[in-house]
Symmetry: C2
């Protein structure tokens, strides 16, 4: 059997049923092996940049491995934007790149002055090294099983992340005996059991003696399959919880203990909550600048902060000052903590704390009646999208205003998922993420939101949506392009604009014509009164649709907190 066929079979054995590709000469045997594997369906991206983004969404929705196959040289370097996303968003994807024959690689030549050697050849491994958990060029056909098993193990264990295997052409086509290949032996787990015990004990004591405890849930809760444990802890001790942008969809907003999104673009009252807490237990959340603000010591200034994370370096970084750092798998930590707590234990903390939290939540809704106005307020539109959606829906959002607004108004009452560029909030992600999600969840409908600026960065993939007739409703917010950039240019630089409006290089496209060019049916939402009826009709139909939503081009983003240090604790919370 050819190595290429072994790879395709291996993927099927690992449960991969779909692979994202852009074909090319350097990956010819890999491509051919895919066509020969009936259980492996391929989807063609129109630019390699988007393929890992699709695979990321696929992996996150299916909670399994995503796979990508690309060609050598530019086929590989084109994919780095998507790879970087998967890296920072901790998505387990496996990227294969084709490569020229070994004897024509700069890797084998070992001469640093060679920039390229074979046809469309580049040494991709050092370029992607710091963006992957494992990146290797396969130099021996017989090592293929080892590399594949190691790559999948690393992609999916610990903090997940992308891995990359570069396969030279003569390796792709080499014949191997599949029964005679070296396996990979997974290492023992490296966490310290006694540290975990100690961490659990200290945390329990802190919580049980706290007056205003707060749980902070991050992406690690989902990655670590710890949603049920997180909810159980919160409910057992009646501790309110607040969530990162990434973790918002783990529990519906209406849950009485759910305080919504933390962060500098979080819910209106999150500053007051953080300011008032006396113990914060952060679980699978790295407390990034986007969440904690620029002055880390002002984030929860009166709280003892306990941080539990699977990535040791996240605990060591010069970030939020920690009372206790626990290096652990969050599910194991929660499991042990729940067992450790007295079985009869009930609500901890002051009763007033819970009442204050409930009052804050009630008094400070994100969207109020006056948001229903014309020109359409983005918050209002997105809140209606959320309200009218059902359990069959998946959301994607893009960079800029819709990213912030989505985080602030989506409530996930029906258990919907959101797949977004959680870490970078990068432009151009919504379309490829929607594609990957649609392929992973064929019975779902994707409610994808993008901006007229972000749209352009992966506009070529509109054709992927129409070609595969994916059940994606793409809402393109027309707000005159690059709204967020205009906002900071006006704020910081006295209105000296650059690349952010019609006059400075960022004139928007005619969206109706764009839809036509990419074979997508088009609809326009232009008045707030029509939103509900139009959305209901749109959601009823299957298949792709491009919806232009004409919004206020002076939309302001609600920034309850510029910096936590300037936020006064609400009197309601005192």
């Amino acid at each position: 059997m050819r190595v290429a066929d072994y790879i395709a079979k291996f993927l099927v054995r690992e449960g991969v049923r779909d692979i994202f590709v852009l074909t090319g000469y350097g990956a010819m045997y890999l491509n051919d092996a895919i066509t020969l594997q009936p259980e492996l369906k391929y989807y063609c991206a129109r630019n390699e940049a988007a393929a890992p983004m699709m695979a990321e969404a696929y992996a996150r929705v299916k909670k399994s491995l995503g796979a990508v196959c690309l060609t050598s040289g530019p086929g590989s370097t084109n994919a780095i934007p998507g790879l970087a996303e998967a890296w920072v968003d901790s998505a387990p994807i496996l990227i294969f790149s084709g490569q020229v024959q070994r004897s024509h690689t700069t890797y084998a030549a070992g001469l640093p002055g060679l920039r390229t050697f074979g046809t469309a050849e580049i040494n991709i491994v050092p370029i992607v090294r710091t963006l992957t958990k494992y990146a290797e060029m396969v130099m021996e056909a017989e090592s293929i099983r080892y590399h594949l098993e190691k790559a999948v193990y690393l992609a999916t264990h610990g903090r997940p992340g992308p891995v990359w295997l570069d396969i030279p052409m003569d390796i792709q086509s080499a014949e191997i005996d599949e029964n005679n290949l070296r396996p990979f032996i997974a290492p023992e787990e490296s966490f310290s059991a006694s540290d975990l015990e100690a961490g659990v004990e200290k945390t329990a004591k802190l919580l049980l003696s706290s007056k205003r405890p707060l749980l902070l849930g991050g992406h690690g809760i989902r990655l670590g399959s710890a949603i049920e444990e997180f909810r159980a802890l919160s409910e057992k001790l009646q501790i309110p919880f607040i969530l990162s942008r990434f973790a918002q969809d783990i529990i519906p907003y209406s849950h009485p203990l759910n305080m919504g999104q933390a962060g500098i673009k979080g819910v209106r009252y999150c500053g007051a909550v953080m300011k008032s807490a006396d113990v914060v237990l952060s679980l699978g959340c790295r407390m990034a600048v986007q969440l904690a603000g620029h002055r880390f010591d002002a984030f929860a200034p009166d709280a003892k902060i306990v941080m539990v994370d699977i990535e040791e370096d996240e605990l060591k970084k010069p970030g939020v000052p920690l009372h206790l750092a626990v290096h652990a798998d969050v599910k194991k930590f929660l499991h042990k903590l729940l067992k450790y707590l007295p079985s009869a234990s009930s609500a901890v903390g002051e009763k007033k704390w819970l009442e204050d939290c409930a009052q804050l939540k009630k008094d400070h809704p994100m969207v109020t009646a006056d948001f229903k106005r014309n020109p359409i307020d983005l918050y209002y539109f997105m809140s209606r999208l959320d309200a009218l959606s059902g359990s069959e829906h998946l959301f994607t959002t893009d960079a800029g205003s819709n990213y912030y607004a989505g985080g602030q108004v989506y409530h996930f009452e029906k258990g919907q998922r959101e797949i977004t560029s959680g870490t970078f909030a990068a432009m151009g992600l919504s379309i490829p993420l929607a594609i990957g999600a649609a392929i992973a969840a064929k019975d779902s409908q994707i409610l994808a939101v993008t901006g007229d600026g972000s749209l352009e960065l992966n506009i070529q993939e509109l054709k992927t949506i129409s070609y595969y007739k994916l059940n994606i409703k793409l809402f393109v917010i027309n707000n005159g392009g690059y709204l967020s950039m205009r906002n900071w240019q006006d704020g910081f630089f006295e209105g000296r604009r650059i690349g952010s409006d019609d006059e400075t290089g960022a004139e928007s496209l005619n969206l109706k014509k764009v839809a036509e060019a990419f074979d997508l049916k088009y609809e326009c939402i232009a008045r707030c009164e029509a939103i509900d009826d139009q959305l209901k009709k749109i959601m009823k139909e299957k298949g792709p649709l491009f919806v232009e939503v004409i919004c206020d081009n002076r939309q302001k983003i609600i920034e309850p907190i510029k910096d936590f240090s300037s936020q006064k604790a609400s009197s309601a919370c005192k």
Copy 2:
């Protein structure tokens, strides 16, 4: 003065008049400094990937530095496809990326487990290290002059190439005294003068005693400003020359000593020429696989090969077997060689050799009368584009069939330039290269050719063409998409296609609608009889135009040589 303003002023002093940007928060002070510098005009790309490609074309056309300014995180990783092009194509471009404040960088944290730290932050330097001649994060405001001067020196000296400076936000805005900054002191040249003398002497002896000498000119001839010296050597000794894909535009094809393009997709008779030569002097040409074929020893099997290159590792690589390797600047080498030759020296080699070469060239034209047919033959179309063009024209080509055909039929009789993805022959380059060329040469008209497959990879930049009303005539070859891929899939894999036609994921776009979506006037060339009239009219008008050219979708590429080892020397050459 802010560091950002110092940078903008520095660029102007270096002769940079245009900079390619995509604005973003992380580069806000850099962007603002650009708006404040009246001599520096900015052009907005629609995806960062295309910005370095534009800068590459700009640098190559102007023979000066190209400049790019991007934002942090995804803004930086998005640019890597273009960076990789500039790297392998040896283009001197300087890329600035914005970065978060120093204290929020993973670089400063020094913890390998941190994937990202500040807002939209990534440690870009290690990612781009192997794709640049210099890549640094600027950690001290006072070091800015040193870094800028060193970066420009390295970008433009020796073998040119891209450099990258990552500028944290607090450095961008830091105040400096511009008179109190440390300069960069350029190092002494490292070439050995005695090696050069010896190389010149040996080369001269070889040439003077040869029977069938041949010069092989590469991209280094232009990069090293040695076109005149190359021509002088050829004419003085009456030695025929053959050119790499990259060097074809240095001397018109009609020059009696010009044998056209070498390589596996070269002119029809290049195998015979290579087979017959007894001395080959390769100048600024790396003799890549694309040129020399897969069996290096079969390239010029009976010739003593002398290779002159500025990059020492190119001489050491396991490539074409060398009789003599000379590590030198090609201009200095030629200058010395010309001086060394007896002043009265005239034609070297056998008279019959020159006659054979002339006969081969006459007998084997690339395009013959029968190419004028319908559906349009791509070779015929591109040969007419070449024939009707004038000195005001610049060509760009894209990957695949039009890349090969352009290399085989363009004759550059009026001294036209071609800017193409010379090394990778990557998809999606023609549009951004055309944009950069149009901005560099405002009085030129760009004749840009792309395929309906390649078009999609940077389709967003069509709006850049229309927005800036650039004088670009974009010819989009409609041949059913991904023609080259279909050809190899049919050839190697019994027609098992993947991602290369309508049924396998690569359905083409409706090109007329695409032109409309991106605000470009549209025209269609569909019949061979109409080509001349239509082209004449098209070339007369200024401004952008999108021209669909409906070509044969079963077009075969002329491959005179699959492998030089299988090529018999033409009897005409014996």
